[in-house]
């Protein structure tokens, strides 16, 4: 493979890993909270979290562009006060991937937390454990496989993201051009062999991530 293709693959892997790592703490915490029985505003939070799953990705990208653009409320503040430029940089790619893959992590992890036998958490409390210890020693380990499966799904989603990314980060070779964006561009330019090379890489990576996620889900279902 030529250096340009390697650069596209490494950029894609880098931003996908970074976005997945970034959403992990908040995603797991939110999933745990959503697995707790009825609290005020829960259904509103659930709906907001699910929105990027059902909205057109370009629409989510447009919202991000408005928020993070130089004249956007967040983008203006970040550039003026912190000197951080977001749109049309690799940071915008990371944010777009994070927003688009967040619902997959939260929904999978929430189900994993819901499947933890609440009796075990109760008994842990009678043994002197406070909420934090119950979370880290009972809930999290027992939901662990589901959380890893959700993380892999989110990573797979991030690898293939297109719509939101092109809106907020554009398609700048060497800076924001991921595998999905490069396939699109190569097809437009009639570079079919380059497009198919990237397609093969994309399929292999997505297959590995989804297969690993499914494997973990099956093992979780079979666990005692």
């Amino acid at each position: 493979m030529d250096p340009e293709t390697w650069q596209i693959i490494s950029l894609t892997l880098g931003v996908a890993v970074l976005s997945t790592v970034l959403i992990l703490p908040l995603g797991v915490a939110l999933a745990w909270l959503l697995a707790r029985p009825g609290w005020r505003g829960k259904s509103l939070v659930e709906t907001l979290v699910a929105l990027p799953l059902v909205m057109p990705p370009v629409a989510t990208g447009l919202i991000l562009l408005r928020l993070l653009g130089r004249r956007g409320p967040l983008g203006y503040w970040l550039e003026e006060k912190m000197g951080i430029e977001i749109v049309f940089t690799w940071r915008a790619v990371v944010i777009a991937l994070a927003v688009m893959s967040f619902p997959l992590l939260v929904r999978t992890a929430r189900v994993a937390f819901q499947e933890v036998n609440p009796r075990l958490e109760q008994i842990a409390r009678t043994l002197g454990a406070g909420e934090l210890r119950v979370f880290f020693t009972v809930s999290l380990p027992l939901a662990g496989r589901g959380i890893v499966a959700g993380t892999l799904l989110a990573f797979a989603r991030a690898l293939g993201e297109f719509g939101a990314t092109i809106m907020v980060a554009g398609n700048i070779p060497g800076r924001t051009s991921t595998i999905a964006l490069s396939i699109y561009e190569n097809v437009l330019l009639g570079h079919d062999s380059a497009a198919f090379r990237l397609l093969a890489v994309s399929v292999a990576m997505a297959f590995a991530a989804v297969w690993a996620s499914e494997f973990l889900m099956r093992r979780r279902a079979a666990a005692p």
Binding site: N117, R119, L120, Q122, T126, L127, G130, T137, V138, P224
Partner: protein
């Protein structure tokens, strides 16, 4: 042990658990048919359920008093709970389960892991996983785990229900030995008259959430 369960009101589906009793004894049984509210009573004492109204006190320490908005969290009550299925942590070994709530022994060997495991005859299982244990072994590990937290009161929810007759009689001997050795008062839920007669000094009978009888185990005869 003196256990006050006063002004208890806990809605439970079709009916409510309603109690107003003071219990005194070392091994007290709660007797009644399935669905009478026995496990809910234990949950209430352990702080795992929130009642509508209640004044619950153990040896003068108020655990819950809804009229004054007082409520001790389950982890602050010092009450050991052995549920019917043992509720062992499946991701931990037997040793991991025992150590979970284990308190420092301050030099005393009575509540050391080794001694408790020896009394409950589970020393050979310490490095095993939970999945390989039989029903009786799981119950003994759950009992050891609760004992190691050095509770002021031990709640036992039908601990012998899953055992056959031969193992039941061994289980009763073991419970007697535990009570003699560790001197921890017990609240013992069962629907077996024989078990209650063998081990308890007091009994309350529950039906649809209400106390219908109380006294010495002989009242069940």
């Amino acid at each position: 042990m003196k256990l006050a369960l006063k002004r208890i009101q806990l809605p439970l589906g079709r009916w409510a658990l309603e109690m107003d009793v003071e219990l005194e004894g070392q091994v007290i049984a709660i007797f009644g048919p399935s669905g009478a509210g026995k496990t809910s009573t234990l949950d209430l004492i352990a702080g795992l359920r929130k009642p509508r109204t209640a004044h619950i006190a153990l040896d003068g320490t108020v655990l819950e008093d809804t009229s004054h908005g007082r409520r001790l969290a389950p982890q602050e009550r010092g009450i050991g709970y052995v549920p019917q299925d043992g509720a062992l942590f499946p991701h931990l070994s037997v040793m991991g389960n025992l150590n979970y709530g284990s308190r420092r022994t301050n030099g005393s060997s009575l509540f050391s892991t080794e001694h408790v495991a020896e009394v409950l005859e589970i020393t050979h299982l310490l490095s095993d996983g939970i999945g390989s244990l039989s029903g009786g072994e799981k119950q003994r590990v759950a009992l050891a785990r609760a004992l190691l937290s050095q509770p002021r009161l031990l709640l036992l929810d039908e601990p012998l229900a899953s055992l056959d007759e031969k193992l039941k009689s061994r289980g009763l001997d073991l419970l007697r030995r535990i009570h003699g050795e560790f001197a921890i008062p017990m609240l013992y839920v069962s629907h077996s008259r024989e078990e209650i007669a063998a081990i308890c000094d007091q009994v309350i009978c529950l039906a649809e959430g209400r106390v219908t009888q109380r006294g010495a185990p002989e009242i069940l005869a």
